[in-house]
Symmetry: none
Subunit: 404 residues, 2 copies
């Protein structure tokens, strides 16, 4: 990870500006033994030029052989050791929809579900009700109050919502109430350690009230709660890197992680294309030292197993790239948080193609284009993703010499 | 090293099967400035095809610049930090010949030597007596008993034997009794810390008895003891990786390390060729998730300084490889534990050529054949040998995603 302590006395504000462009799940695999990966197959004249001019390499998100979730993978890119700093799902979900999670709060992911007259689950996702239907029922949940705590409930998407508990003495060590099967009742909240007994009791009061207010609102007539978690207390960008940082992302979870490291979240529209996102980067460019911008659909199409569609997303990003280039960033990094090969339809552990373009300082290598095999022999080598931020700071001329 | 704690919740039994083929001392050096290494010079059509299809790289056994012994080098390949986990030679020798070393035992390597009438060493290896002669004298040593402890003595090879002490309060912190020169008497056992005084006293009683029973049995009329060591308490494969693992090796020491990490030792014959070993892998293949198979003679010929003979051993392994390939392993790793360049006639620190072939998941690279220089630009990069097992597990589909 970035060595925050080492960096601290070396940091200075040169005014150098950094763009970190993350294509989620960028890394891929060929479908046939002599085929190309998604990135290699994509027509990417802009990225190819940058790769030819700058430095390429492969980043290892968490550790060799470990396929990471997007949370730890992004923390690594942001310079945090993803094993040391773990963020609970509840916190990711809540922060991602704009709920501010403070020290001592407990954040929880909620799902609407369907239960029968005996309280047994018949559908764990309440027939995947659309977001509007979920939002209506969230209004009912908002009416619930439990003495001694402040409760925030917000719709996320479809049948999903987030809950935040604020008050004295709360603890997030509580097991999921989703039994992960149908035909049985939802589980009560159970404390995983003694300090969480009080919180579990409050949650069970809330669950009892939720059952009452949702009665008759089939198919979403009950809830399950998962991913109980507390604010992780991550060091912030302005402190560890002396960077004023912003995030331009469409999906809630990525905004969530960015917020936890102290980035300002720039409003986006859920229908934003890469070009729209990059224009938003431009809109706020003068106000920030560092902008993280995130493209979700490389990962989504990889998860779908749709090689060609993932190629198209990459090509769309490449076509929109001039929007970023015209900002003349001192450092432009293009990478992924992990690999999501269409061949595997899932996140994988394969090292992630990374391109660092910093015209004043980058070391050219023999890469002729941006792709896995060109990255293998590149100037950056294979390196831990969590060391990328140190490189970014150096290339932005933001780090003084260490020692005399 | 493999992060056992991180892996634990991620491990699942997919049924994916792994072969780890280790050619001892595989890495080499060219004899002339523009020459080839042993592996590059060898005609290896099978390995070349696998390298072309799969991923190549170079592994660093212990740390850059460190030439390891076979013990630490194998521990690293097995995923253990060879600096954190150190196995004494006595334990390696004893376990390698099938003596079970338990917690609290002290294991020791013994050499027969020749002493003159004054007790001064005239030959530290007793004229390199053959194994049968050593075995006869071991029978004499077996007659010795010392009150309070159980003593096992077994012949190893030539002038070498192993001793195991079992009893209460034993400690292995004892210096070698071999003075490493002739013309002086053997040394008494000396405790290196107070806790080992009692054990040193017992060993000296035993040494006095050994001198008596061996008197007149020239050239092997005395012994030296080396490598005093206790069972190292290594975590076991079935626990840390959830793998049912087996070892097919000819030389005792490699069986010894494999046994210490919990592998079952498959019986072999000391005259086994690579093809024989690989057939033994096939014989037990259905019963195991992971088979480690070890080829000794690449190292031996390297140590001899015999470049051509090392090339021949590699070619023999390549020719036998179809025996392994017909098992259709999900993951086949071909590597060495360290380099033993014939040019240097010794173990060296040079990174070791490594080939990972896992047809469902490997990342092809630009390697056209299996050899040091092709490995340099490969998909695996340069990596710590102790991280290889994480890659093996990932490619065998035995690791779930880390975090959400």
């Amino acid at each position: 990870m970035a060595n925050f302590e080492l960096l601290q006395p070396l940091l200075h504000d040169s005014g150098g500006k950094i763009v970190l462009l993350v294509m989620d799940g960028l890394g891929g695999l060929p479908l046939t033994p002599d085929g190309l990966t998604e990135l290699e197959a994509a027509h990417t004249p802009n990225m190819d030029r940058l790769a030819k001019e700058g430095s390429s390499g492969l980043s290892i998100p968490v550790a060799r052989g470990i396929a990471p979730g997007s949370g730890p993978a992004h923390l690594a890119l942001f310079g945090y050791d993803p094993i040391q700093y773990q963020i609970g799902r509840g916190v990711l979900e809540a922060t991602g929809i704009g709920i501010t999670v403070e020290e001592g709060d407990v954040a929880i992911r909620g799902n609407f579900c369907t239960v029968d007259a005996d309280g047994k689950i018949t559908d764990r996702r309440a027939g995947r009700i659309p977001t509007e239907e979920g939002a209506k029922r969230v209004e009912l949940l908002k009416q619930i109050s439990i003495p001694g705590i402040e409760i925030t409930v917000e719709a996320v998407q479809d049948y999903r919502f987030a809950v935040l508990l604020r008050g004295q003495g709360l603890n997030g060590a509580i097991a999921d109430t989703d039994p992960q099967m149908t035909g049985v009742p939802t589980l009560p909240a159970r404390a995983l350690k003694a300090e969480a007994e009080y919180t579990a009791g409050l949650v069970n009061q809330w669950l009892a009230e939720a059952a009452k207010v949702l009665k008759g609102h089939e198919p979403a007539n009950m809830v399950t709660l998962r991913g109980f978690a507390m604010e992780p207390g991550l060091p912030k960008y302005k402190d560890v890197y002396k960077l004023k940082a912003a995030c331009v992302a469409v999906y809630p979870m990525y905004k969530g992680v960015a917020r936890l490291v102290g980035m300002d979240i720039i409003p986006t529209d859920s229908h934003d294309h890469p070009g729209d996102e990059f224009r938003r980067v431009g809109d706020v460019w003068k106000d920030y030292d560092f902008v993280f911008t995130h493209i979700k659909y490389t990962d989504s199409r990889g998860e779908d197993g749709n090689f060609d569609a993932k190629v198209k997303v990459i090509e769309e990003v490449d076509a929109a790239l001039p929007e970023l280039l015209k900002l003349n960033p001192d450092v432009l990094i293009i990478t992924g948080d992990h690999s999501t090969p269409a061949k595997l339809k899932s996140h994988s552990w394969h090292p992630v193609p990374t391109l660092l373009w910093a015209p004043q300082t980058h070391m050219p290598d023999r890469a002729q284009r941006f792709g896995e095999r060109d990255c293998m022999g590149g100037a950056l080598g294979q390196f831990p993703a969590s060391e990328l931020m140190q490189l970014a700071l150096a290339h932005a001329n933001r780090l003084a010499k260490f020692g005399a």
